[in-house]
Amino acid sequence: MLQIRGLTKRYRTGDLALKSIDLDLPDGQVMALIGPSGAGKSTVIRCINRLVEPTGGTVVLNGANVTSLGSRDLRRARRRMGMIFQEYALVERLSVMENVLSGRLGYIGFWQSFMRKFPQSDIDQAFQLLARVGLDHMADKRADELSGGQRQRVGICRALIQNPELLLVDEPTASLDPKTSRQIMRLIKELCGERKLSAIINIHDVMLAQLFAERIVGLQLGQIVYDGPPTGLSAAVLTRIYGEEDWSATIRKVTEDIDEAATPLTRSVVPPDTRQPRHDRDRLAGLT
């Protein structure tokens, strides 16, 4: 359970990016945060793990007040929040495995990480996660040899190996093509379902947000102007969030997409221990 109360951020330039945001995120809920560029979406999730220091308000994750922690406790709190980035944010000259294992840095000491001597349990988990996203054969490839979609899947593994209680996802699809975008969003949604994770997903693609999130929050100029189910996004609401525009195309398309996407999503509910046919495993990994 994440509770945000009166979260405010004023940048040193004087811009008020967030104007006292209140937000509750129950366990296991996947929430999309939409809004125009500059509305403060990135600032919200960076204030939660304090990559950006909020100027006011509190963030409480499962009882712990993140905003008042000292640096050592903040490190500990950050381990419980996995973050996925817009341009993958992998360290390109490190291998896929090192990038995934870097998600464990908060749990081990410097010398251990410097010598790359990670506990066997971490390595096992890294291979499991890479297999889950269909990249276990790439473990020793350098991250810059991967395609965009593959890199984002490595980024997802890095976030998940932290065993987080919350996923903070910043524009995961902004640098991906439409098809890969859907695969990545589907993967994030499925993984959240499997692990009962709650997630805040910043996304500027309204259609994707409606497809994959159970709740939509609309942000405009640092204020929440919509909070409700995806079906509630009417032309009037979109105008409130983004401004005047002809929304009929966006809304109509969405209903078609939901029909199309519904089929594979229901099919993916298979017991974990049954042997899946090859194509199904690939599809789960977002390969098809």
Partner: protein
Amino acid sequence: MTAVSDAPRSWIKPPLIKRGWLRWSLGLGVVIYLALALGSMDVNWTRVWEGLPRGARFFAAFFPPDFTGRWHDISDGMLESLYMTVASTVIGIAISIPVGLGAAKNMAPRFVYYFCRAILALSRSFQEIILAIFFVKLFGFGPFAGVVTLSFATIGFYGKLLAEDIEDTDPLPLEAVRATGAGWLQWINYGVQPQVMPRMIGLALYRLDINFRESAVVGIVGAGGIGATLDTAFNRYEFDSAAAILLIIIAIVMLVEYSSSYVRRWVQ
């Protein structure tokens, strides 16, 4: 909407300095200053002419180079130079890593940044010869003064380039590593180091090359190495031995040059 005229419109590139009088007077000023400067250089062409055959005799004395006559002195000096080179490069780089980290704006708090920048500026403001004269006065003749000189010069060179490379790193992976809950050293090791490493290996080899050449120079003011041997050879008018020393220096510099370009290609 305004009507688009069909008549051809002329276009010239807008001048760098808009005001005409300023542009012309600046140009004229530069020409006058250059003429005055050249005029003040009193070139005595007869002396240049007389010097030419002297120079030719001087060069002729270099041949044939004599490797054997003073081989013992030459090999001693050369080995001393190589020791000095390797020691000063390693020491200098070891010190410049923390200094360079501190001198990168995106790593260090403001006062650390200014402190480390001051160290770098101090190290870079003196030429090796001046440093060598100072350290020879401080520690006496010999290779120790040379090692200190070259290490100190290495800090300014390597620390500054390291700091600049760190400032040029992609901030997004740094943010991502920080978001995992990594500590500061882990953050440096996983986020910064992989991004700067290839260039830094190349620069370390380049600095090794520079330090070898400088070790020959600082020897002339008494800081040990092959430079001292070279100076002695000149003072005794043993130009054939001096020529041998110069040829060996050229050979070693070329060797380091080729191997470093090979290593740089390999680390990329």
